[in-house]
Symmetry: C2
Subunit: 194 residues, 2 copies
Amino acid sequence: MQLDKLVQFHKALADANRIKILVLLSTGPKNGQELAQHLGLTPPTVTHHLTKLREVNLVTDRREKNHIYFYLKESVLKHYSDSITATIIRKGEPEEMEIKPVSSHEEIVKNFFTKEGKLKNLPSQRKKKLMVLYHLAKGIEHGKKYSEKDINEFIKKFHLDYATIRREFIINGIMYRENGIYELNPKEMWKEIK
Amino acid sequence: MQLDKLVQFHKALADANRIKILVLLSTGPKNGQELAQHLGLTPPTVTHHLTKLREVNLVTDRREKNHIYFYLKESVLKHYSDSITATIIRKGEPEEMEIKPVSSHEEIVKNFFTKEGKLKNLPSQRKKKLMVLYHLAKGIEHGKKYSEKDINEFIKKFHLDYATIRREFIINGIMYRENGIYELNPKEMWKEIK
DNA sequence: ATTCTAATTAGATATTAATCGAATTAGTCT
DNA sequence: AGACTAATTCGATTAATATCTAATTAGAAT
């Protein structure tokens, strides 16, 4: 976890009204009016808080008829909650705040990339293909929504045939798509990737 | 967990330098000079940050010859980290932010207290005595240091014979004492109390 | 007791953040 | 298309917070 991210997350929760919002949302989606009502705040203020919560992917929204409903993303909350200790208590160099994977696993993956970080080609062996796909997925933010264009742009940094790879992401359950919006599959997220 | 506490905790971690301090301390105790050095800050600023971290019991200090060494309290960090999700995601009334225990267990304990909340007497059966002691200990803050006088004052709110009860806390490993400073035993803290 | 050094407190300044009222945007519904 | 309403953006105000320098305290060591 990056230092910035962690700080941003804590800032997001470092306000009583924002925590109240999360608690309210934990009992089910609410629209802006309801939130403003319950908290005794004006709509602009609620928007302000929601913006901060959205920045760290703790809430999403979905329009429904005339209202926009806000949803708590419990998986993201759990993820952050789990990460805090792991991020701070790393026996080793305190300097580096980045995650650095060092599995033999990584050796295999490395063979499919050029020294510039481009993907040479997608492995045909299922297991290796998954490794490569998961490796690519590390660059996708957990809990963030991407348009198809965003995803294409992202993949193109590694390989020109973005369409195939995007399809592989879906087929293998690494991402899922809903109304043209792509997102990492939260259920899959934390079992292979570290 | 109380709303205030949770907010205060997140405020404590909502600053990059404070997180860096925790990371540094996770590799072992450091004194103020070292911290100021590593962070490129002046001693007063370091004190400022340490104050905030101490307020939520994330660090303690101990004097050693000419320096004061600061220690990360990992157990407290883990505790908060575990509490976040539990506190926010409570299926039920979002209004009440307090923990309310409702075990049959509680029935037994209740019999030893008056309706005003005073302790009638300490049970003689070991099991019941422990229940009562643990119940009393809920009012003691996890990770906070208490002087003997503080402890006496606290116990006196429930019973005049503070000396006996204080001794029972120690005997039963609920608290431990070091140089006249009392503290909840972190190891014991989370197995019985909820 | 005096000196030395580390840590804290006090006071000042600048930055960030919370909140609101007014104006604007975005999408629904007739 | 036009009217309606929820949400957002804008601008301003006020409250917190991070940081420093200078002054002070608290122990340790001579």
